[in-house]
Amino acid sequence: MGALLGLALAVHATLGAQAPGPVASAPESTLVAGLRDTGFVAWRDGFASRARLGTSFLFEDERFAVLALTPVAQDATSPDSLVRAAAVGCQRALDLPPEVLEPLAVLRPWVAFDSATRARPVVALVIAPAERRRFDCHAGTLARIAAFARGIQFGLAAPYDRTADVGRAEVRRDGLLEPVVLAGHAPLTRVVTGGVVRDGTGHLRLYLAPETFAPTAEGRAPRLEIHVWDAVNDEPDILPVPERVVRAVWQQMLPWRARQLAVVAPEAADAAVALDRLTRWPLPPRAETRGAMLLAAATFGAHDDPAAMSALLADVLEYHPCLTFSAAVPPSLREMTQVLRPPARCTSIPLPMIALRSLVPGGGQATSPGRRRLALGSFVGTGVAYLAGRTALAASRRTYDAYRTYAGNSQPPADGLFARAERFRRIGNGFTLTAGAVWGAATLEGLHAEWRHARDIAEVTALGDPRTVGRVRPTVDPRGIGLAVTW
């Protein structure tokens, strides 16, 4: 699959990080769409107008921060209005003169690079010095991300530090150097108290092919590291990309990957439509989501794309670890399911047994793995509440005994003792009822969880049986493309 995509890559791109060194401040080439990328611009435009927002993740170490932007996220953060909102939001906090706001809003250091990569699915990594003395004055997280994507940071002034300046960077996947489609350098704009500072500090962008984020054939997310050198030292900072970021980026590129597949294999069109549907509002029901992902997994598997198949399967198995396929499903899918299946209890316990175990508070929860903490919480909660209730009631009875034997020669007086006894009684009863409620709620929760577990198992057992498998039928919906999946 990587070879196929490699054929589609335009040859005009500069593979910047293969030879780490000075990076360009303007794109040296323009990426043009290959055969399989035809229609990508239209796809991302439709995504921006009708679908959910793209995936953008910000992660950092002590010196550097990295923002990962999928093409859809690049489009979502591109409007000047977001940066303008961030600048206006920070105007008061940083005492900014009005005349600096509009220039900030139209500051587009990456417009040439974005334009050069627009026709091709690439993931941009924005690498900049970490915001150490940051002001959270932006108008929302998206505005901050939009500003960060343009190399604009809001915060207190700090002297130029060469060790915090980004020199160059490279990406390694499972230890091996990854080719960079395009790389660029631009000055960092620091918005500080009273104005804007450009002290020569820069930031980088690396444009990567989506396959950099592709899972292994076993469905495991690759170990991605970004090595960042400052302007002084020879040793780079190594920023591991969180696994959830890797998976999320890859997931967002899958609909387009299915479309690419459909270009050469028309029978994959259903999978493309199904995955496209998952990216649009409103979110489809759970069963439909699962059906779409399995359909796409089967399609990818049938067209020699085990990485995409295993990634989708892993995602489905994360929520349905007990999923099994019938014999009618291709063996590769069944075998991969067995390989990827996370440890899980795939049997159900009769509800009367759960109720019996719940006689010990939390016993119902303790039955399932991964719920021990909840079980312990139920047990401790019930116990603590009950003991507190017992203690308060014991104090109440002691006080009431003192009230009953009060002979008129001590303090507090009888009515004071009675009021205290009643107060303790109410507290004790309250705690006792709380203990009962926690106990009862834990029992109900245990029963409900087990019932739901049994239902979930039944729902995903022997999927693909010819007697039960349904149709995947795209339908036109005013809110987007609908997908009806019936098992």
Partner: protein
């Protein structure tokens, strides 16, 4: 089946929790102003002698707490009836005229009241004629028909004290003339503190007088 089991289990759970709750307490302490205990003073309804000691007690439903209780006993007029000890009073002032007097037992701020009759009753009676200085037997000087004779009583209560205000005691007196028609008991004598007889026919008769628990008699002679 499962639904029934679950319902029964929850019901049992709630029942167990409910059984373990403490019901509201009863306010039964006599010193509690908001209490619901019913109390009354029990003891004698009246006093009959000076120096008499009256003992009262508290009867309560439910029962009072065990052990000594710090109760303040008082009468409305300590000059007449003084509290001597826990529920015990001593009569200091009383007469043959019975009057109402309140006594109070106070539990902290909770009072319990009762009213008794305070007075003197005659325990013994001695009748005599003549003067106070020189008493004489009533039959020593025969009366003539139509004449009157004042018989002076001497009333003493159970503690040997002379009954004060004897006229009030004589208002309760019962007299009897053994030989009918010889003398007549006049009603106006009681106001003067004497038993006044009028001779109506010649003869001899015993006149018997009873005041409270005291009884005595005198013999009168009427000559034609």
């Amino acid at each position: 089946m499962r639904g029934r089991f679950r319902g029964g289990f929850i019901a049992a759970l709630l029942l167990a929790a409910a059984c373990d709750l403490q019901a509201p307490y009863a306010r039964t302490n006599p010193f509690d102003p908001g209490g619901t205990i019913r109390m009354r003073i029990v003891g004698p309804d009246s006093s009959h002698a000076l120096g008499e000691r009256l003992r009262f007690a508290i009867e309560a439903e439910p029962a009072l707490p065990p052990g000594p209780l710090y109760v303040n006993w008082q009468s409305d007029n300590p000059a007449l009836l003084v509290s001597a000890a826990n529920g015990e009073f001593v009569v200091l002032g009383a007469s043959a005229r019975f009057t109402e007097l309140g006594i109070t037992a106070t539990f902290g701020e909770v009072p319990v009241r009762r009213t008794i009759l305070l007075g003197q009753s005659a325990d013994s009676l001695r009748l005599a004629c003549g003067t106070i200085a020189v008493p004489a037997a009533c039959d020593a000087t025969p009366m003539t028909v139509g004449a009157t004779l004042d018989v002076r009583p001497r009333l003493v209560d159970a503690f040997g004290n002379v009954v004060r205000s004897p006229s009030d005691a004589l208002a309760r007196a019962v007299t009897a003339v053994r030989t009918a028609g010889v003398v007549q008991v006049l009603p106006d004598g009681a106001a003067a503190g004497v038993i006044r007889l009028r001779a109506t026919a010649a003869g001899t008769s015993w006149v018997v007088v009873r005041v409270d628990r005291g009884t005595d008699s005198v013999r009168v002679v009427v000559s034609p």
